[in-house]
């Protein structure tokens, strides 16, 4: 298990091996001194920041990192350290007498390759190393000594002491001040409390300081020097924190690891910002090889979600939300994996798959990959020579993007219920649970499971249709997510999943290359891809046959693939019928009768299994909205019902319903913000009025308002149009007739007739707004005119206009 080179991590690193190998020798002597001398970290950073060094450093690109967990279920064989191995480790530990313990051999392939390449040295990579009593594995975060003597002056107390009584935690509960991060026993507080206060808590001393008073912390009892914890040292920049990227044993038997440094806010270019938390760290893109000797012990750097959950995990907990780019001195949020899940789609899967298959890649390809890795992270020099948008979807220079300072407003919490509600109603926010589509999701699940688990795995097609915004794609993706976790659990055979959106393809034919890329990671032209795919699915090719997993192909907006001779659709739908194809096609489109519109040979292949997503009814819409708004009191209940009834009556589109509610919340928020400050304390709730306004904005055509506000002559013109329509019964009229009617209106009501040319221009302007449909003005008197809106609307708008009361008699 441990030896399998199929783990994601190891493969990611295997890409880099050739490069690493060359680079090992130069940096080693330089850095090996760090543990013995008192080299300050700054200088070390500087040396490591030189471009040349970056060339050598093998870097896990952030791209790969963030995509790694996204990977298709094809590679689920992550190799955790099995219990037996741990035992063996213990044994070895005893044997060695000292603190080095071998653990999992990491990616033996690498070693092989190194050996093959003929360099005499060997570097052995490990997944986990037991060193000095602690167990370190790649991906852990550790404290690193900064100065030799500083670290050795006293043993680090792992246990934090109470700031008042200077006794360790013991059995009593200790709480932490959010300001100074000191710990206090509940008993030592003034007044002593029994329970942990909810929310944020600030100690008496800090509170006093904040209000301007002087408050001294109690002095430690005599003879006892107040011990500083590692956390305090780190925050006062006497220690470093680093992320272990990889671990290895060097030729001379010393243990090394590749460290990715963390910095404290003070060490960034902008310094500590008011919004920075005390325990905040930034992950840098700065790497160095460090000997294991300088590691002190573990610390725990968490993302905000984990951090907010971490209550009792001791003192060594830190928050890291941003990545800090040293060259550009800019910040960027670290991608959260679960957030990323839904946006990935084709691109990220492709990214991942291409790494996946590197086993079969040639050497050159690997080098190319390495290059990619560098360009993404390293300094400006390589990025300059490459265009950002042109190379096979690899984008250069993205590291330049980042904020110089993190804006304060993004860090503050959502204040009011309204703002929460707005955030929850965003289309992008994935709800925790999908409501109202259980039946359909079950059906999809059983369909896929049947298809996959079938021994023969006969290919099948499923056609899903329904109006936009009824959760078609979302349901399928949710099913796939569930399936993936089942694959991880081992209850289903692994399969690969390719997602395609018809509207995002350049041409229908390019679907072949996208599918092929999704399956193999290579980019080829569509004709070649078509050949390969036909070979694969018809089972002619030997090498495909061996490892062919079932493949689930999701094609969104299927109707866009319809070409003149419909060959693309035919090919895609024909593959599943071949024996051994192991292909499952799920097509999604809006029209119900798409199969019937197609050639019979296609519809017979596609139209067998269908699933209809009917539009949501108002109860379902209401449920969807209120499930998102659970626990937020911002909407009147009737308001939600009103919105959902309205949408259900028109389209049953959940996106619409959510947008209406969000817009209503915005309107209410806008109203609340424009209130004078004195009233601002009263919470504004979204009421019927706001929803009404939002619905109006979305559904009402604005022509009535425009007609009401337009100039007198335009109104007369429109009235003449309506008059003409009623008189002749013909929708279409010419400008000449209109002009006669208008001049007749004007002369009999004492208005000025401004001349034909002006009138023509007025007509053209109305045509521009599409209140009228008209031909170009060059045709002058022969220009044909027609009302674009029902004449009743125009009548309604003009009936009681104040400046032209006489119009009513012609309408």
């Amino acid at each position: 298990m441990a030896e399998t080179p199929k783990t994601k991590k190891s493969k990611a690193s295997s890409n880099k091996t050739p490069n690493l190998k060359q680079s090992i020798s130069p940096p080693t002597p330089q850095i090996s001194t760090t543990t013995n001398t008192t080299a300050p970290r700054r200088s070390l950073r500087l040396t490591s920041a030189t471009p040349q060094k970056f060339q050598q450093s093998a870097v896990t690109t952030p791209n790969i990192r963030q995509n790694a967990p996204l990977g298709s279920p094809t590679t689920i064989s992550l190799a955790p350290a099995s219990p037996q191995l741990t035992e063996s480790k213990r044994k070895r530990k005893i044997e060695n007498g000292k603190n080095e313990g071998l653990e999992t051999k990491r990616a033996s392939r690498n070693v092989d390759k190194n050996a093959r390449k003929g360099s005499g040295r060997k570097r052995v990579y490990y997944k986990k190393v037991v060193y000095d009593g602690g167990e370190f594995s790649a991906g852990d975060d550790v404290y690193v000594k900064r100065r030799e003597e500083a670290a050795s002056d006293d043993e680090d107390p792992v246990v934090e002491e109470c700031r008042v009584c200077f006794k360790p935690v013991g059995k009593r509960i200790m709480i932490e001040c959010d300001e100074c991060l000191n710990g206090y026993h509940l008993k030592c507080l003034k007044p002593p409390t029994k329970e942990v206060p909810a929310g944020s808590w600030i100690c008496n001393y800090c509170e006093a300081r904040k209000s301007g008073k002087k408050a001294e912390f109690p002095d430690p009892p005599k003879g006892k020097k107040r011990a500083r914890t590692a956390r305090e040292k780190l925050i006062s920049s006497d220690l470093w924190a680093a992320h272990i990227d990889s671990l290895w044993k060097d030729v001379d038997g010393t243990y090394w690891f590749r460290a990715r440094w963390y910095v404290i806010p003070e060490e960034t270019s902008v310094g500590r910002q008011p919004h920075n938390l005390r325990r905040e760290l930034y992950l840098t893109n700065d790497f160095a090889d460090v000997e294991m000797e300088s590691v002190i012990r573990h610390c725990f750097v968490m993302n905000p979600k984990e951090f907010s959950k971490a209550d009792n995990e001791g003192d060594d907990v830190f928050l890291c939300e941003y990545e800090y780019n040293i060259q550009w001195q800019s910040f960027k949020r670290i991608a959260e994996i679960d957030n990323n899940e839904d946006d990935g789609g084709v691109d990220s899967d492709d990214d991942w798959n291409s790494c996946d298959d590197s086993e079969s890649d040639t050497e050159e390809d690997m080098e190319y990959d390495i290059e990619k890795g560098h360009c993404l992270l390293s300094g400006p020099s390589p990025a300059h020579s490459l265009a950002a948008n042109s190379r096979k979807g690899q984008i250069y220079g993205l590291q330049k993007i980042g904020t110089k300072t993190i804006p304060e407003h993004v860090r503050c919490r959502k204040q009011t219920d309204l703002e929460w509600a707005k955030a929850m109603l965003l289309l992008a926010t994935l709800p925790k649970s999908l409501t109202c589509r259980d039946k359909e999701m079950d059906e999809i699940t059983t369909f896929i499971k049947d298809a996959i688990c079938d021994e023969r795995c006969l290919g099948r097609c499923l056609y899903i249709h329904g109006v936009p915004g009824t959760g078609k794609t979302m349901s399928v993706l949710a099913v796939m997510r569930n399936m993936r976790s089942e694959v991880d659990a081992g209850s289903i055979r692994p399969y690969c999943f390719v997602e395609i959106n018809g509207l995002k393809l350049a041409s229908p034919e390019s679907v072949y290359s996208v599918i092929y890329e999704g399956l193999s990671g290579h980019k080829v032209g569509w004709k070649k891809a078509l050949n390969f795919l036909t070979e694969r699915f018809s089972g002619e090719n030997k090498c495909w046959k061996k490892d062919s997993k079932p493949c689930v192909l999701l094609i969104d907006e299927l109707d866009l693939l319809v070409t003149r001779n419909q060959s693309v659709l035919y090919n895609i739908l024909d593959w599943p019928t071949k024996p051994n194809s192991k292909l499952i096609v799920i097509g999604i489109a809006n029209t119900m009768d798409l199969p019937e519109k197609l050639l019979p040979r296609i519809s017979s292949r596609m139209g067998i299994q269908r699933l209809c997503f009917s539009p949501y009814n108002y109860q379902q819409l209401q449920e969807i909205i209120s499930s998102r708004l659970k626990g937020i009191y911002a909407f009147e209940e009737y308001a939600v019902e009103f919105a959902s009834r309205k949408v259900a009556a028109v389209s049953g589109d959940a996106r619409r319903a959510l947008e209406i509610c969000r817009r209503a919340a915005e309107i209410a928020d806008y109203r609340a913000k424009s209130l004078p400050l004195s009233n601002s304390n009263t919470a504004v709730i979204v009421g019927m009025g706001d929803v009404e306004a939002a619905i109006k904005e979305m559904f009402q055509a604005p022509h009535i308002q425009v007609i009401r506000s337009c100039s007198k002559l335009s109104k007369i013109f429109l009235a003449a149009m309506v008059h003409e329509l009623y008189k002749t019964g013909m929708g279409e009229t010419t400008f000449e007739k209109m002009a006669v009617t208008v001049s007749c209106f004007c002369s009999s009501n004492g208005e000025l007739f401004p001349g034909y040319d002006t009138l023509l221009k007025v007509g053209c302007k109305l045509g521009e707004c599409r209140i009228l449909l008209c031909e170009s003005g060059a045709k002058h008197k022969l220009q044909k005119l027609q009302l674009n809106y029902p004449s009743d609307d125009v009548t309604f708008a003009l009936k009681d206009s104040k400046d032209l009361p006489w119009l009513a008699k012609y309408l």
Binding site: G402, L427, A428, Y670, Y756
Partner: protein
């Protein structure tokens, strides 16, 4: 001499005001109901709350959609420097999807100092766009897409709109799409799957109301008292101006001006020509300036075209008119010549010209747009044989003949008789 200097300076001040839409619209934007504050709220809340929005700005041309948008973007850029990149596209230039994607990639590259390649395929550009959206989202940067002439983007498959709006459905991206269009039914043009992804905020820009118009007049024309101009001159200018603004005659002028169209652009055109007519010696605007400007703004091109016609051209027009009254199916130059000849035969006019001269007059009329060929077919045919039709109506022709200085009496008679 000094006075003239001041007058020139005042002219420059007012002209520069008229040429900057942001100045004109700054007065209309302070109330909370104005489009400015609504749009600003939408954009700034999507910047600060990291959400995606799409807005349509609708309204007739000349009502300040783009001007207000510019104002808002300027203010937002000032408030959140370095957090916003604005991508501007115009439907007239970039309605082709791949071309629009390329332009987006180009502008993004410029904005972020990346190297841009013209050779990139539209697939590459799409991917570039998607990853830029993601990266900018991570860096808390908002990308604002301004799509001018939005209706033209809604042609064809609408791939661009779909991929933009679909990319905005993820949490990581942070973008605002602002569509500007003069078509009131622009959102109906969207395909239904695109429309479903559009968030349907609509801001409507309306014509100027009377009150706004008067506020605007004062806002533009009154000289600043704290400027470089001497105090007494400014005082004299402003008192005279306020006097004019309160005048009945002036109200009449404004009524005539806003009778056909009451847009801001029309008003500023009018004021510009007024200011240019200002007499430099007193250096103060007078009512006559406004009157003169009104006539120069409201032109009647066809009437003026008629006024400049030669006698022979008038003959040709009247002949065509007579043929039209006779309800002949179609006429061409030859049938017109026959009619002309018959008029000459019956009335023995002195204005009889040879055929080639008449042909020249006929071609002249074609070029002026008073008459036109019936269809675009038959380019190879010479113009004499192609069917033509009259573009001006009987009323216009009659009026034109009346206002013509040397129109023969015979033509008037013919016109009356023909009717």
């Amino acid at each position: 001499m000094r006075r003239e200097n001041h007058a020139e300076q005042a002219q420059i001040i007012i002209r520069s005001r008229l040429c900057s839409p942001s100045f004109i619209f700054s007065i209309l934007s302070d109330s909370p109901d104005s489009n400015y504050s609504k749009l600003k709220y939408i954009v700034s809340s999507s910047v600060t709350e990291a959400c995606n929005n799409s807005v349509l700005l609708l309204g007739p041309r000349g009502c300040g959609k783009n001007a207000v948008l510019e104002l808002v973007l300027e203010d937002i850029l000032k408030e959140h420097p370095d957090m916003i990149s604005v991508i501007k596209l115009s439907g007239l230039l970039h309605c082709d999807d791949s071309c629009a994607l390329k332009e987006i990639a180009r502008q993004l590259c410029i904005e972020h100092q990346l190297l841009f390649s013209k050779m990139a395929s539209s697939d590459d550009n799409t991917q570039f766009l998607v990853s830029m959206l993601r990266e900018c989202g991570f860096a808390h940067k908002t990308i604002i897409f301004v799509l001018n002439e939005f209706d033209l983007f809604a042609q064809g498959k609408q791939r661009l709109l779909y991929s933009l709006l679909d990319a905005m459905q993820s949490v990581t991206s942070q973008a605002v799409v602002i569509g500007v269009s003069c078509r009131l039914d622009a959102d109906q043009l969207l395909e239904k799957r695109v429309r479903s992804r559009f968030s349907h905020r609509k801001l409507l820009f309306l014509h100027l109301s009377r009150d706004d118009l008067h506020r605007l007049l004062e806002h533009i024309l009154l000289l600043p008292t704290d400027g470089s101009l001497p105090h007494d001159y400014v005082a004299a200018f402003n008192t005279k101006l306020l006097h004019i603004l309160a005048d009945e005659n002036f109200h009449g002028i404004i009524d005539v001006l806003s009778y056909p169209y009451s847009t801001v652009s029309e008003l500023s055109r009018f004021l510009f020509s007024t200011v240019c007519r200002m007499d430099l010696n007193p250096g103060i605007l007078s009512l006559e300036n406004f009157k003169a400007a009104l006539t120069s703004v409201q032109r009647q091109p066809k009437m003026e075209g008629l006024k400049d016609c030669s006698i022979l051209e008038l003959y040709v027009l009247v002949c065509m008119k007579r043929l039209e009254v006779k309800e002949l199916e179609s006429c061409n130059f030859n049938s017109i010549m026959e009619e002309y000849k018959s008029i000459h035969d019956t009335f023995q006019t002195s204005d009889y010209y040879a055929r080639n001269v008449c042909l020249r007059a006929f071609e002249h009329l074609l070029q002026r747009g008073l008459i036109s060929f019936e269809d675009n077919r038959g380019h190879l045919q010479s113009s004499e044989f192609r069917p033509v039709k009259l573009l001006i109506s009987w009323h216009e022709l009659q009026q034109g003949l009346k206002s013509h200085l040397s129109c023969p009496v015979l033509l008037h008679k013919l016109m009356d008789r023909g009717n």
